[in-house]
Structure formats: C-alpha cells, structure tokens
C-alpha cells in the first residue's frame, strides 16, 4: 500500500514537473513580450447627434429616415453591394403602398427567361423578387473592385459589433492618418488602390469614400450632408438586418409585464402555501 502510494506520488510529481516545464516558453514570452507593431484603428464607434429612433427599449422606426436610407442604398450602395435577403415586398414595411412597391420593383431589372426560346433576358422586377446582385459572381466582383468582394449588406449591422454605429462610423471614417500615430509606425502607408479609414479594422479599405455631400438629393427632407446620409443608410441597414426589431421590443414589453404580474401571484401563493410550514423569523 505504502509502496503503491509512494509510486503514485513520484509519478504525479514527475508529471507535474514536466507540465510546469512546458509552461516555461509562455512565461518567458510573458516576461519579455513581443511588441505588436501595427497602426491602432478606432475601435470605438461614433453615433449621430440625438441617436437613432429605434434605439432603446421603446424605440420605433423613423419611416422617413428608412425611406431616405433606401434611396441612398438604391442610388449609391447597390451599384456594388447586394441585398440578397430582402425582397421588394418587404419595402411595404417602410411605409410604401402596394402600388408604390410594385412600381419600385419594376424600376429594377432582373435576369429572366425568354418564354419563347429560353434565352436569358432582362425583365422588370416583381414585388416577390429579391433585390438583384450587382455582379454575376465573386470573380466579376473582384475584377471590378480592386480584388475585393463588396459584401452583401442584408445582415451587415448584425454581422459587426455595434453594427448600426459601425456603419455610421465607417461611412464617416475616411480621412488622413494622424501624423502622431504614423510616427509610431513609420512604415505605415496606405497602399495604392486602398483608402485610409480609421474605423475599418484593417485601417485601409478597398471601398472609396462614397457618401460625399450632395451625392443623393432627398425629394422632401433634410439636406443630404455626409452625416445625414450616413445616419440614413445605417438606419436602413438596421432594418434590413432585423425587420422585426421594433415589433420584437413591443411584444417584449407585454410579455415581461405579464410575467412580472404572474410571478407576483406565484410569490403570493408560495407564501400562502408555506405560511403554516415556515416558522416566523425572530
């Protein structure tokens, strides 16, 4: 028994020593850390003044803003970015009538099949169609965009941390690198064909600045400043990523208020049932 115990202890000790030894490289690395050598990007997003109407527990859509955002998507973003999970019929949720949606869908051209000879033709869109992709495939997308594929925008605000503010910040993040930061990383330089954007994780983004003042003209609404358009597109893309956002929160209020009421009743009945069992606290 003693011998066996001794054996176990010796074995465990040996294993422990070996395992501890395996930690040595990590400890050395900890003591003398390798300095990361990169230009730090702006991780904190900025927000428009006054925030977005749909934020907070009681937020609602600003339909005028969503419609402006749709206009920005249609006139600017859609030339490179697809919106594949959104259908034209969904636009009715932005406050357009059925007629308007039908006309809007017809203003887009989609690949169709000629009913006589089966050849591929262009046809006007129907409300049941999904937004068409600007490129036939990724290879074509790369060829037109300096070897970068413009991502689909349907889910963009959910596919990035703090997505709504990220889109807003990215649209406004273009500019020149800070000379003080550049001095820290002397070899930093924006390569040919890329654009400096302090809110992009890679600092250099393939997308050129898009929302320059006056690139769209709002029919009846605020002036199309860069901030205004950025806020509008961020709001629109929040809706495309999560059309149920506002409805969800509204249901949430009812559910939680009901559950608080029901839990209150459950607590009272618990206390009543236990009244005879639990002694009074002295």
């Amino acid at each position: 028994m003693t011998i066996r115990l001794g054996g176990i202890i010796v074995g465990l000790g040996l294993t422990a020593v070996l395992v501890l030894w395996s930690l040595v490289p990590g400890l050395v690395n900890f003591a003398i850390p390798e300095k990361p050598d990169y230009y730090a990007f702006q991780e904190e997003n900025i927000a428009p003044e006054g925030g977005f109407s749909f934020e907070g527990a009681a937020g609602t859509w600003d339909y005028a803003q969503l419609q402006r955002g749709y206009q920005v998507y249609k006139e600017v973003c859609s030339s490179c970015h697809s919106l594949k999970f959104v259908a034209f019929r969904n636009l009715q949720e932005l406050g357009y009538s059925e007629e308007e949606v039908r006309a809007e869908a017809a203003s887009w051209s989609l690949p169709g099949v000629d009913q006589k000879d089966g050849s591929v033709i262009d046809r006007p869109g129907l409300p049941t169609d999904y937004f068409p992709a600007p490129y036939a495939n990724d290879v074509e997308a790369r060829a037109f965009n300096n070897n970068a594929v413009p991502p689909d925008l349907s889910l963009m605000t959910k596919a990035r941390k703090d997505g709504t503010h990220y889109v807003y910040s990215l649209m406004l993040g273009y500019g020149e690198p800070d000379p003080a930061d550049q001095a820290l990383s002397p070899e930093f330089e924006t390569p040919e064909g890329l654009y400096f954007n302090e809110h992009f994780y890679n600092i250099n983004i393939a997308m050129p600045p898009q929302l320059n003042e006056g690139v769209v003209t709002y029919a009846n609404g605020p002036e199309a400043t860069a901030e205004q358009m950025s806020a509008d597109i961020a709001a629109f893309l929040t809706w495309t990523a999560e059309p149920s956002l506002v409805h969800r929160k509204q249901i949430g209020w009812f559910v939680i208020l009901f559950l608080i009421f029901a839990s209150g009743l459950a607590y009272l009945s618990y206390k009543q049932i236990w009244a005879g069992v639990k002694p009074k606290k002295e």
């Binding site: 070996l18 395992v19 030894w21 395996s22 930690l23 040595v24 490289p25 990590g26 400890l27 690395n29 900890f30 850390p33 527990a57 594949k84 999970f85 969904n90 991502p151 349907s154 889910l155 959910k158 596919a159 990035r160 941390k161 997505g163 994780y201 990523a241 999560e242 059309p243 149920s244 969800r248 929160k249 249901i251 949430g252 209020w253 559910v255 939680i256 559950l259 608080i260 029901a262 839990s263 459950a266 607590y267 009945s269 618990y270 049932i273 236990w274 069992v277 639990k278 002694p279």
Partner: protein, 452 residues
C-alpha cells in the same frame, strides 16, 4: 421508492381507478413530482435549478422541433434558410431567438445546479449515481450545443466546427484518419452539417432519457438539503406538491423574466457577430471563440502553449495541442471522481469552514477567470492568467479537496432538519451532535432507510 410516510396515490373517480389498474401513470407522476414525494422542508432557492433545467430542456425541444420544420441542412442553403426563418416564417425570429437564448439559459441554470452540487457536496454517498448521471447529461448537453451552433453555417459555425473537430486530430497515430471519418471530409462540409443536424435532433431525446434516470436515482435516497443532515422522520419533510411546486413556480417566473428580457431586448448579446456572415472556408475570422458557455473549457484547452519535452532536449513527449485536449476533457472527467476525492463526512459547505474558504475564494474566482479568459484574445497577459487558473482548477479538485476533507474540523451539525428549521426538535437529543458522528457513508446517523 420513497420514505415510509410518503402519501400514496388514491384514485377518486371511476376513470382514474380504471386507469390505475391498467396503467398507473398518474400514480407514477404523483410519487415522482406530486404529493407522494416527501422532500426536506429546508430547501433554499438553489434547489430550484433542477426543475428549471427541465423546463429549458422542454423549451429547447419544442422550439427546436419547430425550427427543424423550416431548416435545411445543406451548406448551399442553410444560412439563407435560417434567414428565411427569421424573416418569412411567422414569428420565426421569436422561435430562433428563444432557441439560441434558451441554450444559454439552459447552461446558466445547469452551471448553478452543478455549483450547488459542489457547495453542498450533493455528489456524496448515497447520491453518487445522481451526480454521475448529471455529469453525463452535462457532456451530452455540450455535444448537442456545439453541433447546434454549427447549423446556421455562419463563419463562427464553420470555424468553431473546424477547431473542435480538429481536436481529434491531436490523438496520436489514429487522430487524423479518425478526424476525417468523423467529419466526413478534410474540413467540415455538407456531410458534417448533415450528421450534426441529425445528431443535434437525436441527442436532446437521449438527454431526456438520462434525465429520467437522474430523477429516478434521486428518488432512491431522496433530495439532499442545505444542512446535509439526512432526513430522519416525517417532520423533516413536506410533500413536493404543493410546497415545492409553488416555490418552483415562483422561481420559474423569475428566470422567465430574465430569459424574455434577453429574448426580446438583447437577443444577440450572447452570440457572435461573425455568425451573421455566411461560412467561408477561405476567410479565417480574426478570433475564433466558441459560445460563452464553453469558455472555461476553451481557456483550459488554450492554456497549453508549450510541448511537453524532456528538459534540455528536443524530444517531444506530448505536443501542446494534445496536452490541451487531454486537460480539457480531464477538467470535466474529474467531476466523475468527485464523490471519492472529497472524503469529508460532512456534506454542506455551511459546516465546513476551510472548504468554504477554498470554494468562495478559490474555485469561484478561478471559474470566473476561466469564463473571462476563454473569450479573450490569445495574447498576454491572458495566456499566463489562463495557465494559472487552469493549474488552480486541477489543484482544487485533485489536491486541495482531498486534503481539506481530511484535515478540516467541521462545525457541529444540527441533530435534524427539523431542528435546523425550528431551532428545537422534541424527538432529538436537543443538543447538536458532534459533526464527527455524522457520516456521509451508509447513513449511520440512524436515518431510516427509504422503503422500496
């Protein structure tokens, strides 16, 4: 299988009498979770989580079956199909968010249930089998949750699957062929997605089966309680129904408020943004992390950064990856040995001063650290911190617990549950008996053996 004073089911109507003769299902329910199951009268809120875990299992199965009706396990369409559920299926978003957050809440209540077990030594005799089955349920849950996270076929689904299935490749000699066989290819693809979906549908029902065994094993000795003193007589117990059904009902209400708050206001908070990007085998995310409930084990896996070598030579005994895999599995498998590692005759942490200190100032901070470190970037100081936390984790179970249970002097235990609740017990000696008289073994403290 209960105490001698347990109430017996008495059918009242002609139908229930007829039913009781043919199939005594109401009798089974009555004795299992009804008035026929006597339970210690002093259970605190920590004893709510078993019922709550059962609730979330049912919720996951119900929402999961509905989601499966609209899902397609094909890499070409899976991502879009999930978006179809979110956008076109009536209240599909609610079903999916309930399922995703339901998994998180299932793990929250399970972790609280397990740590209740750690603190009150619920694993000790005569309840070892309940504990062992519980660890089996936890392992099955982990497998199910992992495979479920792959189904939306987002970036984190794919890369998480690649990392976790890659662990099998660390096994010497057979590792790589085994990995290819399990995944159905060199990287997760259509065959992997299909089998994960199949198993993700199957395993919850296996869990439900083991849960039945878990509850069955529970009804042999009966529920434990916060004093750790076994039930001695009828005044120590009250019927499960209506007393604990009422208390669990309130607990369920509270957890549902928290759950629906997450579901309706912060449904994506516990998820990862990268999973809203469709899987792309050619683009690796900056940071691959599993779901939050795997963080402690992921931290242990990543804590091993150096190969196990013979000092001052280049001979590698065990590569770092295999060390991490072994440690990760060992960190859960060690729970299987808990009933035999902790030798203290006293169950409840209340009466174990030294154990209590190591629990609150050792194990709990260690677990909190592992939870944090598993989601942190793999850089300093997180690596060295996860190494310290991993070392403490194993030290706690393999060294501290056995030694503490040998040398600690427990506080005096109450004579009975009745005395613990009322402050006096006419049937007992009145004075508290020395703790050393209590044995966690085969109930020498004169507690009545449950009638079969």
């Amino acid at each position: 299988m209960s105490f001698a004073w347990a109430k017996q089911y008495e059918p009242q109507t002609a139908f229930t009498k007829w039913m009781d003769e043919k199939l005594p299902l109401p009798r089974l329910v009555y004795s299992a979770v009804g008035a026929g199951y006597p339970v210690p009268r002093n259970l605190n809120y920590m004893w709510n989580f078993g019922v709550l875990a059962g609730f979330f299992l049912v919720l996951q199965i119900v929402t999961g079956v509905v989601l499966a009706m609209h899902y397609a396990s094909n890499t070409e369409v899976a991502f879009g199909q999930v978006e179809h559920i979110m956008r076109n299926v009536n209240y599909g978003w609610m079903m999916r968010y309930a399922h995703a957050n339901g998994a998180s809440f299932f793990f929250i209540v399970i972790y609280l249930h397990i740590f209740r077990g750690f603190y009150y030594s619920s694993y000790k005799a005569p309840r070892e089998m309940i504990w062992l089955l519980g660890v089996v349920i936890f392992l099955l849950m982990m497998a199910t949750a992992f495979m479920g996270y792959v189904l939306p076929w987002g970036q984190m689904s794919f890369w998480g699957a690649k990392v976790i299935t890659g662990l099998f490749g660390a096994i010497p000699v057979v590792g790589e062929p085994l990995q290819v066989w399990l995944v159905g290819g060199f990287a997760p693809g259509n065959s992997a997605l299909n089998r994960f979906f199949s198993l993700h549908f199957l395993l919850p029902f296996v869990i439900a089966g083991v849960v039945i065994l878990h509850i069955w094993a529970l009804h042999i000795p009966g529920s434990s309680n916060p004093t750790g003193v076994e039930v001695k007589k009828e005044s120590d117990t009250i019927p499960f129904h209506p007393y604990y059904t009422a208390k669990d009902g309130f607990g369920l209400g509270v957890i549902l408020i928290l759950f629906t708050f997450m579901l309706f206001f912060l449904p994506n908070m516990l998820g990862h943004p990268d999973n809203y990007v469709e899987a792309n085998p050619l683009s690796t995310p900056a940071l691959i992390v599993p779901e939050w409930y795997f963080y402690p084990f992921y931290a242990i896996l990543r804590a091993f950064t150096g190969d196990l070598t013979i000092p001052f030579t280049d001979i590698i005994l065990v590569p770092a990856k295999l060390l991490g895999v072994i440690a990760m599995f060992a960190s859960i498998l060690v729970w299987f040995f808990l009933p035999w590692l902790d030798k203290s005759p006293v169950r409840s942490g209340h009466y174990r001063p030294m154990f209590k200190k190591f629990f609150w100032f050792g194990l709990i901070p260690c677990m909190a650290a592992l939870f944090y470190l598993g989601g942190a970037k793999p850089e300093e100081p997180f690596i060295v911190l996860s190494q310290i936390a991993t070392a403490y984790y194993f030290l706690h179970f393999l060294v501290i617990l056995p030694i503490v249970s040998q040398i600690e002097i427990p506080k005096p235990l109450p004579f009975s549950i009745t005395e613990a609740v009322l402050g006096k017990d006419e049937g007992g000696a009145g004075a508290a008996t020395a703790a050393t008289d209590m044995s966690a073994g085969d109930a020498p403290d004169a507690s009545p053996q449950p009638a079969e």
